[in-house]
Amino acid sequence: MRDWSLHLLDLMENSLRAASTRVELSLALSQDGALDIILRDDGFGMDRDFASLATDPFTTTRTTRKVGLGLSLAQHNAELTGGYLELLSEPGCGTRVHICILTSHIDCLPLGDLAQTMASLILLNHDKTDFTLDMSSPMGSEHFSTKVIKEVLGDEVALNEPEVITYIKDLLSEQSQTVFGGILL
């Protein structure tokens, strides 16, 4: 992957495949440049044995091929910066992925276009899943939730109307600019 926003899109696709109704993403940048990314869902979850193997590239539930690269590539890119990827999961209770990356490291990938990642996910999955995104840094913090958007839109207007998706994308671009500025982008 070229940047973290693509890794996060990939990992959130896992959450959706596990039939999550809620996907919560938070990114917190600390003063020393460590970025903590926490992704939580309420999907099927995995049992302990499978979860411990999930970052292995030769572990997958898919039947079309024998490799599953999403988590292992993300883990690799986190470890390149001196960070780590930690997976906690419980069958029936969902999954939590914690990625810690040190943004001051020369091998750290850029954050990328998080707004486009969220907009694509919402466009394709608005009817089944609620998304939240929390961003914070020493420069400020922002909160986004599809529930708030849905309340304004009411029942007649769907979240995947092109104008609404564009609104969400612009809103999230503004939010990530406010919180992370040009540091990570």
Partner: protein, 126 residues
């Protein structure tokens, strides 16, 4: 700054349009994009975003965008299937935002598949 008032205005505009849309029965084109790890790594997200932009720009409200997982041909990703109301299905491979604009203009709007981007044409070269 984006405000909730702005969203409220979008809601009103969309409601007006929806009531108009019910009258002219448009038939839907369905576009399916591969969004597994292989698709995302190969650039499926900007492809999806470009479809979205084109749909909004051309007001193609009868076009339906959806996603699928990995179908086992990772080397040809991003892969896009276009299903037309006449029952036709065309598979485009190695899709880029530039190709998306061509596919929307020629195929989705005017009904002529872009044969040089299809899986048949690309596979024949390989």
């Amino acid at each position: 700054m984006k405000t909730l008032q702005e969203l409220e205005a979008i809601r009103q505009k969309t409601l007006d349009r929806i009531s108009m849309r019910k009258e002219d029965k448009e038939v839907a084109v369905r576009i399916v994009i591969g969004m597994a790890t292989c698709g995302i790594a190969a650039g499926a997200r900007p492809v999806m975003a470009t479809f979205m932009e084109e749909i909004e720009r051309r007001h193609l409200h009868s076009v339906n965008l959806t996603q699928t997982g990995c179908i086992g041909m990772c080397r040809l990703e991003p892969i896009v299937d276009v299903f037309t109301p006449d029952g036709g299905k065309v598979t485009y491979v190695n899709v880029t935002p530039e190709k998306v604009r061509m596919i929307v203009a020629d195929h989705v709007v005017n009904g002529h598949p872009v044969s040089e981007y299809t899986i048949g044409a690309v596979d024949a070269q390989a």
